[in-house]
Amino acid sequence: MNFRKYLFILIPYSWLVALFLVPFIIVVKMSLSDGVMAIPPYTPYLTLTEGWAGITNFFTNLDFENFIFLTEDNLYWIAYLSSLKIAAISTVITLLVGYPIAYGMANASNEWRPTLIMLVILPFWTSFLIRIYSWMGILSQEGFLNQFLLWLGIIDQPLTLLNTNIAVYIGIVYTYLPFMILPIYASLEKLDLSLLEAAKDLGCNRTQSFWLVTVPLSKAGIIAGCFLVFIPVIGEFVIPSLLGGADTLMIGTILWQEFFANRDWPVASAVAVILLLILMVPIILFQRSEQKQREAE
């Protein structure tokens, strides 16, 4: 009897269908509708009570108008590109900050490691919103950072940090740092120390063996960390709206605007569908690199 076997496969797949595929189909369907002032605020919607006529009527009224609309206003492209740019820059910064931390953790003594991992995970125990609010307190004109810098005498005028892209980068790097540190740490921790001794034995100094051995061998962790940061940051909405200024343009904010300010659910859905298609590229690349990694092991 293969029944049990099928059941085991069926359960996760039905979750996937229920939690991802069905909502996605609903969003795609909505993106092909037209906005109206009604309940619900779009048309057509499927009315099964009208039978076959209702179904054909439904399908003939769907169109790609909203997608065409998105191409007509360069706002959307600029917002998508700006999201990609912000995601790329923050990924690089997160990597530059996260790698040394992961490296330090991997080189710490065994008794310290659990504590250090704990410290990296600890912020997750506090609400994400509260942590971002704290940053507003830190970065504001009268905030801790400015007070501290003024006290040190490094600056004599408070810096404008909050409501700028700098604050957005700080918020993103802070929030996503654990997603960068943990995979890199995992790959560095696995690193065979005899490889570094071998490198030393073959004439490398510390810097050389770091770049020639440590970095290439933690590549899998670096790639995983970068994707884990890059992918969610593209669609980030909370951080730019709390820490960013009015000129911080991200697609998440545009989506909010379409949905709430314009009440245009269909256009909002079209924005979301395109966002998902854009995200597919790095996700597929990530999957590929993971697969390659598995094959190599």
Partner: protein, 375 residues
């Protein structure tokens, strides 16, 4: 043609290539190396042998510059190695796990050290090919380490460590990961390569057979101390202590009281109502006369009846037989109660064997077959 025997350690005017002077190494409270002094000569294939944890690996890692001595000095070619940084010494190491770089191809692994040296870039590929030929891996240059077999990986590791033509090569359990047959083949190859290159090799191993096969001299280590340095035959035939005798090969140890006889030989009382054993030994008998008599199983003859002309003969019955193919080990319970191993070659087919379980037998050996150990 006159063959000179390679025995620089016996020549008074030869200069040691490596010299340990009173070297100690402590890790916290643990003393890994305890005041060790010895020399290794150029072109030697020197084995450090001992049970795990005896300090042999630490000793080698100090040579490779991966550890620093807590006390004492190590000289290579007359220079204190503490004054030369690790990456400037003409010493390379082959690691136990091979430590091949998994992200680099076989050729790039071999070229790794060369690229760090002052060798002109254009010469590197030739040198890599030369090394690949040396270890017979010509076709595998483009493979990654995980795409080749364990034996091939071992060869890559050897080629990589030899690529820079070091004056000294350190090998840390180089064959430990190979299966027995491959290990034996590779041992001979290793010796061939060492002789061909004339490089001084220092090998760390816990496998006494391996040490016996490859080494010109063996240093036996135990608990951070060197207990004997000698050629394989002397280590085997003339162990300096019970420890060495027990560690190398199979041995029967009989405790007894020794007395010098008029003819200079030794008479050993070892069990009540048993005739004393006679041994031809120059060992100094300690004051209390307590010694250990060691005899290898293969030096013992086994007969049904008491041999007439034997120097020593004891009686017992066969308690167990271990059939090893080429030889069999007979465990014989002596009438005095001791258990003694005797080895016999299986020159005949199994069914024609003379001895079987519970047979009464006599074990005999000559005066010179055993050794008297006082330590």
């Amino acid at each position: 043609m006159f063959m000179t025997i390679f025995e620089p350690w016996n020549e008074t005017n030869s200069k040691p290539f490596i010299e340990f002077r009173g070297v100690s190494k402590r890790f916290g409270a643990l003393t890994a190396i305890d005041n060790v002094s010895f020399s290794i000569y150029e072109r030697e294939f020197f084995a450090l042998l001992g049970p795990s944890g005896c300090g042999k690996t630490t000793l080698m890692r100090m040579l490779g510059g991966l550890e620093k001595p807590s006390k004492g000095q190590i000289f290579i070619d007359g220079q204190d190695i503490n004054t030369i940084p690790a990456n400037k010494r003409s010493v390379n190491m082959m690691f136990q796990s091979y430590a091949l770089f998994p992200h680099l191809t076989v050729a790039d692994n071999i070229a790794f050290g060369l690229k760090r040296s002052d060798m002109p870039k254009s010469e590197i590929p030739d040198r890599v090919n030369e090394m690949l030929k040396l270890v017979q891996l010509d076709n595998l240059d483009a493979r990654k380490p995980h795409q080749i077999s364990g034996g091939q990986r071992q060869r890559v590791a050897l080629a990589r460590s030899l690529a820079k033509a070091p004056k000294l090569l350190l090998l840390d359990e180089p064959l430990g990961a190979l299966d027995k047959k491959l290990r034996q083949e590779t041992q001979f190859e290793l010796v061939d390569i060492q002789e061909k290159l004339g490089t001084t090799f220092v090998i760390v191993t816990h496998d006494q057979e391996e040490a016996m096969t490859v080494a010109s001299r063996i240093a036996i280590m135990d608990q951070g101390k060197l207990i004997q340095i000698d050629t394989p035959d002397l280590i085997y035939e003339a162990p300096s202590s019970v420890r060495v005798a027990d560690f190398i090969g199979d041995v029967n140890l009989i405790e007894g009281n020794a007395q010098k006889m008029a003819n200079g030989k030794m008479q050993i009382e070892w069990a009540e109502s048993q005739p004393a054993l006679i041994a031809d030994s120059s060992a100094q008998i300690p004051n209390d006369g307590k010694i250990t008599f060691a005899i290898r199983p293969e030096k013992i003859a086994m007969t049904k009846h008491k041999p007439d002309d034997a120097d020593n003969a004891v009686e017992g019955h066969i308690q167990d037989i271990a059939y090893l193919g080429n030889v069999s080990i007979f465990k014989v319970r002596l009438t005095s109660g001791q258990l003694m191993n005797a080895q016999a070659s299986n020159t005949r087919r199994l069914s024609r064997r003379n001895f079987t379980w519970e047979d009464k037998v006599w074990l005999s050996w000559t005066e010179t077959a055993g050794i008297v150990l006082t330590k």
